[in-house]
Symmetry: C2
Subunit: 337 residues, 2 copies
């Protein structure tokens, strides 16, 4: 039999973009999820929609140039944005951190300028896809991502694909109700409702509780840490530092937040029974296993089905700041097929 010459298939690439309130990060990613080039620019949210869009286009072009691959081998662009998005059209609704982009047809604008398909999705959805495809959730069929930062967001993977839901709003784990008491004094969420997980376990909620205790006269190392660092916000880094010093107040507040996250994980498992829960976001990155280990240990006690309770994995996110660009790149590639 004559030997058949196998044509070598040309490598293809996609661009992943993470548009945040402070910075734009763009990366060219190969078929295996490896980053070939990355470019960072400030978002400058006050500069206006047109300038932000131009800066996005330039950042993508720069990343493509630096990747030194044939331009025509770049198939598509994926973008994660901190806003609800219509993923079919790339239309942004309310963009809290970058209000000049409210009601912007971002997908269409970028696609016209870059002359290739552009897929836009919500940043926590994108982060969940990143962790699923290339991070902690690799190889799982069903996975839920929980990102604990200024707020608490999340995403849901069903049968290996991101679930958008009927109105493209699936995965809002921060607004699952964990502590509704129907009383006037309960913790209010930033969304204006009581009882949301975010009202107990976000960095904002943790800061609120620590400050309230300080106002009420409680002593804490946090007062010194804030003065020393010349900071006005209780950052995730300061929380980690205070916990390392075993500050009683910060430990108490963090333990409460962790308990509510444990309850959230159990609620999700009892409803959805996923294979894995991945916990990420700024607070998680700063605290690491100090946050995740108690959740992993205690959540199974709350599972209604105890059979195989230990098989449901509760793990830390792995990709850190790169979940966004890698998830966006994955979405771009998957959307093409």
């Amino acid at each position: 039999m004559p030997k058949k010459k196998k044509a070598k298939k040309a490598q293809t690439y996609v661009v992943g973009v993470d548009l945040g309130g402070t910075k734009i990060l763009a990366a060219v990613v190969n078929e295996k999820g490896k980053i070939l080039s990355e470019v960072k620019r400030p978002t400058l949210p006050a500069s206006g929609a047109e300038k932000i869009i131009q800066r996005l286009i330039q950042t993508v072009r720069r990343a493509i140039k630096e990747a030194k691959v044939p331009t025509k081998s770049i198939l598509a662009v994926g973008v994660g944005v901190p806003a609800p998005v219509d993923p079919r059209t790339g239309f942004l609704f309310e963009v809290t951190n970058i209000p000049t982009l409210n009601n912007c047809a971002l997908g269409q604008r970028l696609s016209e300028a870059l002359e290739m398909p552009v897929f836009v999705d919500n940043d926590v959805n994108v982060g969940t896809v990143g962790e699923h495809a290339l991070g902690a959730g690799r190889g799982t069929k069903d996975m839920v991502g929980i990102f604990v930062g200024t707020g608490v967001g999340g995403g849901v993977i069903v049968n290996g694909r991101l679930r958008h839901g009927f109105r493209n709003s699936a995965g809002e784990v921060g607004h699952m109700f964990v502590g509704f008491k129907g009383q006037a004094d309960e913790a209010m969420c930033g969304c204006g409702r009581p009882g949301c997980l975010e009202a107990y376990a976000s960095r904002t909620a943790i800061e609120r509780d620590i400050r309230a205790a300080i106002s009420a006269g409680r002593k804490t190392v946090m007062t010194k840490l804030l003065e020393k660092g010349g900071k006005t916000r209780i950052t995730s880094g300061l929380l980690a530092e205070a916990l390392k010093r075993e500050d009683p107040l910060v430990t108490e507040v963090m333990d409460r937040a962790t308990t509510y996250l444990t309850i959230l994980v159990a609620s999700i498992v009892n409803f959805f029974d996923p294979e894995m829960i991945v916990i990420g976001g700024g607070v998680t990155e700063a605290l690491g296993e100090r946050l995740v280990e108690p959740i992993r240990r205690d959540a199974p006690r709350w599972f209604i089905q105890q059979h195989d309770a230990d098989k449901v994995r509760v793990v830390s996110a792995k990709l850190g700041d790169y979940a966004g660009v890698l998830g966006a790149a994955t979405i771009a590639r998957e959307s093409l097929t």
Copy 2:
């Protein structure tokens, strides 16, 4: 062109079985979901596993006989049971209401005796499938069923199919946490944990709260209704009667239960964003719109995404006692394809 003679395809049938703590209901169902025959027998849970299995087999055979269709046109049997099940094998784990069936290979036993494929699933999963295929949820892609009775159970439909989950325990909506307070005095669930929806909104929880108020000296028409009916349990029917008479205590307790169900619906929508929530079960059947209307009205206020909030339908189940046999029949038919 010669006219092609179209062979008339022979009709096929399946048997749906609803095994409950008190009765066995079996029905022969055609391709359109129409019931041709139905047979009811008592379960007699104390009679032991062998006798219950024999009674199940006889009930199915009787239903087949009464349907008057060719025996070989009956393709399969579906069974709903009040227990966690491994749906691949039909093995029952703990059967609270029929303990003699604990750890029973029911699927295999029935399949050997009836000489056809038998598919076994949890009763609320089966009810959800029934409502989706032939009841309130017909035509929806993603739907969640919530059944409010002695306990609160549920099921999840994703992309038109029942979701079992990683450990076959998806849909345990009664054990999502809605009111966790971390305090000693909070309502405990039958599962031994505080904060579960079931601890606030099941018939059992409602009865507990009414009895506690009576013990504390509150006046209610329920005291008379219980005496008059010679009943020892506050049934769903008695709840409906007391509400019709606008009894202040029962109204207060039901309103609280309804608020927690509203919170549950919103939690599910914020996490999963389904197209429809179907509310059924004994309490719902007795109370009807008195229970469902306030949930439909108030749940959207708790949706984090307000866009198209009114498009998510919150409706009453339609099939009543037939959700079980029709769902079991649907599972049998779908499992064959």
